[in-house]
């Protein structure tokens, strides 16, 4: 669309909207990918860990091992348990060797006997049954439900995800306010232009369109620049994440919808800019005869 307004280069407001949109899209981009990665992480954890738990049977080694075998037998008869097996003490000790070294020292440690359990269908009911079966045989046994600590992490991660969404909301709100005030400020700069257009017979819609399409162009520009600046940041983050042992941090991937969300940011900025500019100019025009 042909414009009767000064080009951005001719006006002091110039690239202001574009610049602010770039910054806000950058921030929103980080927030969106944070929310997305956390979501992806939670899915991975849920899929890999929820079906297993460990029972620790404390006590003097021989007695504990014997009790662990009873626990295993009881669990194998429990509904919902797919597999249960005593972890051989030698294997548990082998796991500790890299940290503690001395084999004699490890042998003397009062290590609990361990029963590895895999559930067919993890549910609260199954967990209650497991709990009852274990407690009946070995009241001192501790059930290490991985989900307990995992749930805490999941809750934390979810909270981070919500914060990310709040951040996106705040960025969009800041964008709206910025465009409204930038347009209002530029109206003083353009009073003469608006008045002349008005006096030579331009309709309100024509004048408002000139401003809103210009704001759209600036917001799209800013949005794309913000995304382009954000891309290397995202690549760097995922590179660092990939260097971490997958046992500690499962591979992070941004779920597909979040890529859509990232691409939608400049569009959202453009829509906000359009509406804000249009409303602001329409208001200024209503003050004219």
């Amino acid at each position: 669309m042909r414009s009767d307004l000064p080009t951005p280069r001719q006006s002091t407001m110039g690239h202001f909207i574009a610049g602010i949109v770039a910054v806000l899209v950058f921030i929103s981009g980080i927030a969106v990918s944070a929310a997305g990665s956390i979501g992806g992480l939670l899915d991975t954890w849920n899929a890999s860990v929820t079906g297993t738990l460990t029972v620790q049977v404390p006590g003097e080694a021989k007695a504990a091992d014997k009790l662990a075998e009873s626990v295993r037998d009881a669990l194998l008869k429990t509904e919902g348990v797919k597999r249960a097996g005593v972890v051989p003490r030698a294997q548990a000790q082998a796991l500790l060797r890299p940290w503690l070294g001395d084999a004699k020292l490890i042998a003397d440690l009062p290590l609990p006997a361990l029963v590895d359990v895999e559930l067919a269908a993890p549910s609260t009911l199954t967990l209650e049954r497991v709990d009852a079966a274990v407690k009946a045989v070995a009241p001192a046994a501790i059930i290490d439900d991985h989900r307990v600590w995992l749930n805490r992490i999941a809750e934390f991660a979810q909270a981070l995800g919500y914060i990310a969404f709040i951040l996106i909301g705040l960025a969009l709100a800041a964008l709206t306010l910025t465009v409204v005030f930038a347009t209002r400020a530029s109206l003083t700069e353009y009073t003469q232009t608006i008045e002349v257009l008005h006096l030579v017979g331009a309709r309100d819609g024509y004048i408002a369109s000139q401003f809103s399409w210009r704001a759209v162009r600036q917001a799209l520009w800013g949005g794309v620049i913000g995304l382009l600046a954000f891309a290397p940041t995202l690549l760097a983050l995922s590179w660092f994440a990939r260097r971490i042992d997958p046992g500690v941090l499962p591979p992070i991937s941004l779920p597909l919808p979040y890529w859509g969300g990232l691409a939608a940011l400049p569009v959202a900025a453009a829509v906000i800019a359009f509406v804000a500019a249009r409303a602001t100019v329409a208001r200024a025009l209503r003050a004219m005869v």
Binding site: R2, V196, L197, G201, D204, M288
Partner: protein
């Protein structure tokens, strides 16, 4: 000269009709009071009065920059106070205004300034190019199409302003002090332009202090004094009668 023709809703209605119009800015006393006047199509009037008498204020009512505080103003048979905003925009397209301070847009070239009324009215670029080029040539601005107002002289700016006023072939032409800053040869030519348009049926009002100009043309005067308007016969006719 081929000028672009715009359509008016009621071509037969009087371009200007004032019924008991009064006007003031805000809460200040009336600048104009109880004006009643009808200007038919094809009429030509000078608008005179001392500085500060209210010439620009009266014209601002006619070009719809202000609304009367009292009374009724009709342009082309339409009560401007009751017209919708879009309707008023359409009425403005039938007007050609030369503002006292020109009001050219500094960021647009001479060509684009003149083209503005056609473009906001949705005239095709092809026609815009034809009409604007011809008119700019006619007012002697060949070769200055791309010049910004800031590099133009006062007289050149005024010619751009006049070209912008008449490019839409207006039915009502309002010129505030047009030849004031122009040397006499150009003033003569520009006045001729208004006279031509008046002969083609436009209603023309030219506000001026220039007694010399008023005396050279046989047109009646609208004279504002102490807020009231009187119609005086043409100066040249008075002289002829003496």
């Amino acid at each position: 000269m081929a000028l672009f023709r715009t359509k008016t809703k009621e071509p037969d209605a009087d371009p200007v009709r004032l019924d008991g119009v009064a006007f003031r800015y805000g809460n200040s006393p009336n600048i104009l009071s109880d004006l009643s006047l009808t200007l038919p199509a094809g009429s030509f009037h000078f608008l005179t009065g001392a500085s500060g008498a209210g010439k620009t204020s009266l014209l601002s009512l006619l070009y719809l920059s202000n609304l009367p505080t009292e009374g009724k103003l009709s342009l082309f048979g339409q009560d401007v106070a009751k017209a919708s905003r879009n309707r008023r925009a359409t009425i403005r397209r039938s007007l050609g205004v030369v503002f006292q301070d020109f009001r050219l847009l500094d960021h647009l070239s001479a060509f684009d300034n003149v083209a503005l009324p056609l473009r906001v009215a949705g005239v095709s670029e092809e026609n815009v190019k034809a009409y604007v080029s011809e008119l700019l040539g006619w007012v002697g601005l060949d070769g200055l199409f791309e010049a910004r107002p800031e590099v133009l002289s006062g007289g050149q700016k005024q010619r751009v302003a006049i070209a912008r006023a008449v490019v839409g072939s207006p039915k009502l032409i309002l010129a505030d002090e047009p030849p004031g800053t122009v040397d006499d040869a150009i003033a003569e030519r520009l006045m001729q332009l208004f006279v031509e348009l008046h002969k083609l049926g436009a209603c023309v009002i030219v506000a001026t202090h220039n007694e010399h100009l008023v005396s050279r043309f046989p047109f009646p005067r609208l004279h504002i004094e102490r807020g009231t308007l009187s119609v005086l016969p043409a100066v040249s006719h008075i002289e002829a009668g003496e």
